[in-house]
Amino acid sequence: MDAFTQHIGTAAPLRRSNVDTDQIIPAVYLKRVTRTGFEDGLFAAWRNDPEFVLNQPEYDGVSVLVAGPDFGTGSSREHAVWALLDYGFRVVVSARFGDIFRGNSGKAGLLAALVTEEVVEQLWATVEQDPGTKVTVDLEAKTISAGELSAPFEIDDYTRYRLLNGLDDVGITLSHEADISAYEATRLAFKPATLPAKA
């Protein structure tokens, strides 16, 4: 994963609440066995609507998505994060995220920035008035700024640390292999196994 320190780009206002991961990418697009190529499934049902924000030419090339509350609820599909990344998004801003979506974002290198509903409203107003407004998301300082607006965002410290350093979770955990083995030696004997124990 590439390190993420600061991102500057234009933003799209998604004036919807409860955008679940089925809306972000419907199940029929989940049949691929690769980690890339999900761009065509992003918001598939809405992309046919000429009024949809991402179909407006002034929002071409956006990399920040500003969404209503409860973004990314529902299914655990990480494909939702991959589809946003494949389309070109690097940051999603909302007042509430689905837990699993927020976790998946941190793993895959998409910044899920938690702000108040007021900040979402201000960002919507700013980028609707001038779609060319550059939005700056600074992960070091945990701030988001656009035009006159500058506001803090929340992200848990550990995800921030990993994103700033571009660290791979599995590698970090395997450095604690001795702890894992020590724990395994203490597991209760009656816990079930799916396979017979190895001889």
Binding site: A45, T73, Y158, D179
Partner: protein, 476 residues
């Protein structure tokens, strides 16, 4: 001070705790399916890493498999490739797999409990948000993304921040004809789809204690629909009775030791929850959703709401959009909504008791003209059990389609989908836009309401039906 059920189970799985880091938690059981795992196995191959504990891992194919002609190759080549990829990965990494045609193939959250692999006090994960189902046994069970699937395969652990605790206490006795599904839909309508965010929820109280294991699974299954990290129910005699003699349940002296340990997991009398919600079971009635998220529900006796009924601007806009998508007019009685398709199945309501409940309503009755009903058992074993009890004959005689096991129309990834504009009454868990097929409209219901709706062709409860004289098979 005492500890809650979830705190006890959490603490028993901490491999490593360090300041400023999430806990490293050990995972007792990892369930794997075809849709969220291929990229995780690729990751292992790229890094040349093995699966650390194949003996704590089990795979099945459920999301993307057909429910008919299951003895033939899968017709859709992309789906076939995904299923074949899981089979190859299971073979390469030494993981047990249950494939189409095997009695233990089926919805991943149905087969874990039916095999006795889900037990109290465990940690259970799967690349599927409805993993919360397994919390019914007093396990901490939650859904994870594909990166985390890879992490668990490689390390048998996960890094997790410790959630807050919440108690949902359901006092009293559920009225006749009201099921666990109605209860959980009513709860979500009250607390909202984000109400559980950041919490592990413990469901407790008289009405919860009175539920069967399968009904408890229905409740815990829907925990994710109100945003909770996980939902749990303390293990008790009902749990032990269900588990005893399941294929992977502890045997002999191990059973005694296990039960003693499981009994110790209950929340201590002096433990405190970060938040508490209390519900009166007597207030619950058959419940259905009218909108496009599981919190947009009302008792079946109500009318379609108006956007003006909602307080916040966000809720008003959401209601307006939902009514437009659902093709509904404010003020219409819910009972007058005509349904094209009834779907009985899924990890929420695809177990044998759900099939019995629906068959009890359909015995001696017919599915309405112009309505189709799909019955999709949660697993091959549920299907065999239903056939042994004669339930398949009741469904077929009524005019319903009797299918093979899988997720099917719950998420419309296989050929079982709604056409644009088509309306369903579905015992599944999500009424999101397009969930059951592009443009499809979903009303979430209990198995009893699903069966009654199939008979009338409009949303209905069994109490709405004319009585019939029939001899109903024993368990129904």
């Amino acid at each position: 001070m005492g500890r809650t059920l979830s705190e006890k189970v959490w603490d028993a799985h901490v491999v490593r705790r360090a300041d400023g880091e999430p806990d490293l938690l050990y995972i007792d059981l990892h369930l794997v399916h075809e849709v969220t795992s291929p990229q995780a196995f690729d990751g292992l191959r790229l890094a040349n890493r093995p699966v650390r504990r194949p003996d704590l891992t089990i795979a099945t194919e459920d999301h993307n498999v057909p429910t008919f002609d299951v003895d033939k190759p899968i017709a859709d080549p992309v789906s076939r490739t995904q299923v074949d990829t899981l089979r190859k990965n299971a073979k390469e990494f030494g993981i047990r797999i249950h494939t189409l045609g095997d009695p233990d193939q089926g919805v991943v959250h149905v087969i874990g409990p039916q095999l006795g692999l889900t037990q109290p006090g465990m940690t259970v994960v799967c690349g599927d948000s409805h993993t919360s189902t397994h919390g019914a046994f007093g396990a901490i069970a939650f859904g994870i993304g594909t990166s985390e699937v890879e992490h668990v395969l490689a390390t048998q652990t996960l890094m997790q921040a410790r959630p807050k605790t919440m108690a949902v206490t359901v006092d009293g006795v559920l009225p006749d004809g009201v099921s666990a599904k109605d209860l959980v839909l009513a709860l979500i309508a009250q607390v909202g789809t984000g109400g559980g965010q950041g919490y592990i929820v413990e469901y407790r109280g008289e009405a919860i204690r009175a539920l069967s294991m399968e009904a408890r699974m229905t409740i815990c299954n829907m925990s994710i629909e109100w945003g909770a990290k996980a939902g749990m129910i303390a293990p008790d005699e009902t749990t032990f009775e269900y588990l005893k003699d399941k294929p992977h349940a502890p045997q002999g002296a191990d059973w005694e030791a296990a039960v003693e340990y499981w009994k110790s997991l209950a929340t201590d009398a002096d433990a405190a929850f970060d938040r508490e919600v209390v519900i009166r079971a007597e207030d619950i009635a058959p419940f259905v959703t009218w909108g496009t998220n599981p919190g947009q529900g009302l008792p079946l006796s109500a009318n379609v709401p108006s956007p003006d009924d909602f307080e916040t601007e966000t809720d008003k806009v959401a209601a307006e959009r939902a009514l437009e998508y659902m093709g509904l007019t404010a003020g219409t009685p819910l009972r007058e909504i005509k349904v094209d398709t009834v779907f009985l199945g899924s990890c929420t309501n695809g177990r044998i008791e759900d099939l019995r409940a629906a068959a009890g309503v359909l015995a001696g009755r017919k599915v309405a003209e112009g309505t189709r009903m799909l019955v999709v058992p949660g697993s091959g074993r549920v299907r065999l059990q239903a056939e042994a009890e004669g339930l398949d004959a009741i469904f077929k005689d009524a005019g319903a389609e009797w299918r093979g096991a899988g997720c099917s129309m719950c998420l419309g990834m296989n050929p079982d989908t709604l056409a644009p504009g088509e309306r369903s009454a579905s015992t599944s868990n999500r009424n999101f836009e397009g969930r059951q097929g592009k443009g499809g409209r979903t009303h979430l219901v209990s198995p009893l309401v699903a069966a009654a709706t199939a008979v009338t062709g409009t949303l209905a409860a069994p109490a709405d039906l004319e009585p019939v004289d029939v001899v109903v098979p024993e368990n129904v």
